[in-house]
């Protein structure tokens, strides 16, 4: 029977394997490296991320390869997202170092957890099977819960971690429940096979839609969109800023990949149903996110609410792919690519603005109230100019990337139809 054993093709998963190996190396390094040579840890992490990015870049050939019994897919989307995730996390690690050192949080656990979270994201991005997706999601989420609580002496951070954990576990439960419904209806967990089964009409539509509701709810939790957004401001506010920077950037890309894999790749036939759900989520997120952001006095909370509305915009693009049950190949691709563009633009803006907050926090003092930023122009005009650019970009003022991202999304949404357009116009009352 030995000849039936097939070694899976490992090459498509090379970036993930590299990260995993480096993470194991870091566990050992943590044991032997002394207090003075702490920089080695961060250097190893940088090498891991840069190496993984390099591998992803060099193996990016636009071909779709399935491996591990069709559980893992390596296509252009996954390569691109992995590249962005690697580079984002790389920037996060470099940005965070001085902040962590100043607060004595520069422990081996931080680097390890960041790498495992990155690994989780990459697995999610490449998942073509519900189990792989869930595995990646949990690896990411568990690492994030621990990261939020990394400052063990901070009551606020611990509370945030607890809140994040409880709500996150609930969301995972919902997602899993939805997945099991879909499994019940289609008899398979493989995303491509699910799409086939629904297409051929073999599946019970009622159970599918029931499962879809749970899947969308779970996704909404992970993306942090209204009405599943309650954890976002608290966690962003409670976590040490370096961790907030991490949570607010790369995981959004992974969540975007998850939404795309589940809804577009797997449940595309149900587009009419999830389109309506996403529309409600998007409109509420944009409205609530913006209105609540205005009232905040803490910049981390403000950016959190602004992030909620940005995720709403991304969903707006994601739901615009299908017009009244009709698929127009150009329009659909345009909608998904604008959603992807929006996600990447948001990650860049979020990296920049939380990076500024991080940079301006000195040892022993957190720059997080809006009042802390008064007079910044006098102290450091360059930082003030950068902050200004980030804020204008978030508000979608032209010449900055935020505008072009919003423009692409609006274009897709208006193309999708008049009812959607009316909703867009009413929800456009936004500021930040």
């Amino acid at each position: 029977m030995l000849n039936q054993f097939v070694t899976p093709d490992l090459l498509p998963a090379a970036p993930e394997i590299f990260i995993l190996v480096m993470a194991c190396l870091i566990i050992f390094a943590d044991l032997v490296v002394g207090q003075v040579q702490r920089w080695i840890m961060s250097a190893l992490t940088v090498i891991a991320l840069a190496g993984s990015a390099l591998i992803t870049y060099t193996t990016m050939d636009g071909q779709t390869v399935l491996t591990f019994s069709n559980m893992f897919v390596d296509d252009l989307l996954s390569d691109f997202l992995k590249l962005v995730v690697d580079l984002t996390v790389l920037a996060v690690v470099i940005y965070s170092r001085s902040y962590l050192v100043a607060r004595n949080l520069d422990k081996g656990e931080y680097y390890l957890l960041v790498l495992f979270a990155t690994l989780g994201m990459m697995v999610m991005i490449s998942a073509s099977h519900f189990l792989t997706l869930y595995l990646g999601l949990e690896l990411l989420s568990l690492s994030l819960y621990a990261l939020v609580a990394i400052d063990r002496d901070s009551a606020r951070a611990t509370e945030a971690a607890m809140k994040y954990f409880v709500l996150g576990a609930l969301a995972s439960g919902l997602l899993l429940y939805g997945m099991s419904m879909v499994y019940g209806a289609t008899g398979t967990l493989e995303i491509g096979a699910i799409a086939q089964a629904i297409f051929h009409g073999d599946a019970n539509k009622t159970i599918l839609v029931f499962g879809l509701v749970f899947i969308v709810a779970g996704l909404a939790f992970k993306l942090g969109v209204v009405p599943f957004h309650m954890w976002v401001p608290d966690v962003y506010h409670g976590a040490p800023t370096a961790i907030t920077l991490f949570i607010a950037s790369a995981p959004k890309l992974a969540a975007f990949a998850m939404a795309l894999r589940l809804l577009v790749y797997g449940l595309f036939e149900l587009a009419e149903q999830w389109q309506l759900m996403l529309m409600i989520l998007a409109v509420l997120s944009i409205a609530v996110g913006n209105l609540a952001a205005i009232a905040q006095t803490n910049i981390k909370r403000m950016l959190a609410y602004s992030g909620i509305s940005h995720m709403g915009f991304m969903l707006l693009a994601l739901m615009s792919g299908v017009v009244g049950g009709q698929v127009d190949p150009f329009g659909t691709l345009n909608a998904y690519s604008s959603a992807l563009y929006y996600a990447v633009a948001y990650v860049l803006m979020s990296l920049g603005s939380f990076g500024m907050v991080l940079l301006l926090s000195r040892a022993g003092h957190e720059a997080e109230m809006l009042d802390d930023f008064k007079g910044l122009n006098k102290r450091s005009p360059w930082f003030a100019a950068m902050m200004l650019i980030m804020m204008f970009s978030m508000a979608g003022i032209p010449f900055f990337i935020g505008f072009f991202a919003k423009f692409a999304v609006l274009l897709a949404a208006i193309k999708a139809g008049d009812t959607v357009m009316m909703l867009c116009t009413t929800t456009l009352m936004r500021s930040l």
Binding site: N377, P398, F403, F407, L410, S431
Partner: protein
């Protein structure tokens, strides 16, 4: 050379401003001198536009066209007609005045102040020159940024509130415009070219929606009653230079938008909704005129009188008569000079008396007789006294509107 004149008018001040920023806030005199040189250069490059402009030519002149964002077919498409060329020159001239007005007064971060005005000058030239709707929108929105900063940083005690109000009002309006621009883009088969849009045949229903969306965007900018409330706040809190640019150029953007977008793209809706527009304009002229009468604050008075003057402009557009439109244009240019002069005069007084109250200005004629004479002269021009430029435009608009509507458009006090 003449092919790139418009680009020069846009980019000379913007690139020059980078050098002014680079001088740094410490070296005040170097910064202001450099800013003056850049502003003068910006004005000089617009002169050939005026001199070589062919008034007999129908269509756009000095056209430049290059692809910008190919995916959405956005072009870097510039050109001017007889309307916009005047505003480009006016804008560049006003920028010189603003730099000079801030010469002594601005002690705090002078290089950034001057640089912000230069950037704004370039962006506003871009608005007047853009023939691609997306390019127009980009410049239109981007011009908010320097103004927001100017009010927010160098403004009066309540500057943050005023800057936010200004920003939110105008942003809200322009978002509706963005949506209609995208709708038109799809309708025109993927083109943001304004000249293509003029030839579009649009049904009356969408035309009315488009007109209303543009109305919100431009009415905020003009500003028309009842969305005018940001203007007095912005004027009162803005530094002198900010008020000058706001009154002289920024208010004209809204009226220019009506001419460039609403009227040619939605002509039927414009005719149908003309009574609404005329009504709003008359309210602005009469009611805001009365509001101006009771102001004790000089800057507020000028701000309200600006709103009422812009009422004449929109009135002139929507009586659909060539002389009416010409009168509105004369009124816009005249108001650009006169209100700028008024704000500069108030700036002079404020720097000496540190008060904007009219009551505190008594006896100025004893100490500054020549200044007082000029001040009165500009005030008279603002009133529209015959033989001043203010009279010409108002006379043209009012004389045309009287037989049409038999309503009194009374002169403001």
């Amino acid at each position: 050379m003449s092919a790139y004149l418009l680009s020069l008018a846009i980019w000379v001040p913007i690139i020059g401003s980078l050098f002014v920023f680079a001088v740094g806030p410490e070296r005040r005199s170097a910064a202001r001198l450099l800013a003056l040189v850049v502003a003068l250069a910006g004005f000089v490059v617009t002169l050939p536009l005026l001199l070589n402009f062919d008034p007999t030519f129908v269509g756009f002149q000095f056209v430049e066209q290059a692809p910008w964002i190919q995916r959405f077919n956005v072009q870097y498409f510039l050109g001017v007609d007889g309307i916009s060329v005047l505003f480009i020159a006016l804008n560049s001239l006003i920028t010189i005045l603003v730099v000079l007005a801030g010469w002594q007064v601005i002690e705090d971060k002078a290089s950034q102040y001057m640089g912000a005005f230069l950037v704004m000058s370039g962006l506003m030239n871009g608005i007047f020159a853009a023939l691609d709707a997306m390019l127009f929108y980009v410049f239109f929105e981007a011009s908010l940024i320097p103004m927001y900063i100017i009010i927010g940083v160098w403004g009066g005690p309540n500057r943050v509130y005023a800057a936010f109000k200004f920003f939110l009002y105008t942003l809200l309006g322009s978002l509706l415009m963005l949506v209609s621009l995208i709708w038109l883009f799809l309708e025109a088969g993927g083109s943001f070219n304004l000249i293509d849009w003029y030839n579009l045949k649009i049904g009356i229903q969408p035309q009315i929606l488009l007109f209303l969306a543009f109305l919100v965007a431009f009415a905020v900018k003009v500003p028309m009653w009842p969305v005018h409330t940001w203007l007095p706040d912005a004027h009162v809190e803005a530094p002198t230079g900010g008020s000058v640019v706001l009154a002289a150029i920024m208010l004209k953007l809204g009226a220019y938008g009506f001419l460039r977008f609403s009227l040619p793209i939605a002509p039927d809706a414009s005719h149908q909704l003309a009574p609404l527009m005329i009504g709003l304009s008359l309210i602005a002229v009469v009611y805001i005129g009365f509001v101006a009468l009771v102001q004790a604050d000089m800057k507020k008075l000028i701000a309200y009188s600006s709103i009422s003057h812009m009422g004449f402009v929109t009135l002139g557009f929507f009586i659909f008569n060539q002389i009416g439109v010409e009168g509105a244009l004369v009124q816009m240019i005249s108001h650009g000079f006169v209100s700028a002069a008024m704000f500069l005069c108030v700036g002079v007084m404020y720097d000496r008396a540190h008060s904007r109250m009219i009551a505190d200005y008594g006896g100025v004629v004893n100490t500054m007789p020549k200044f007082a004479a000029l001040f009165v002269f500009f005030a008279m021009a603002n009133c529209g006294l015959p033989a001043t430029s203010g009279f010409v435009g108002e006379f043209m608009v009012v004389s045309l509107s009287l037989p049409l509507h038999r309503r009194h458009a009374c002169f403001r006090g």
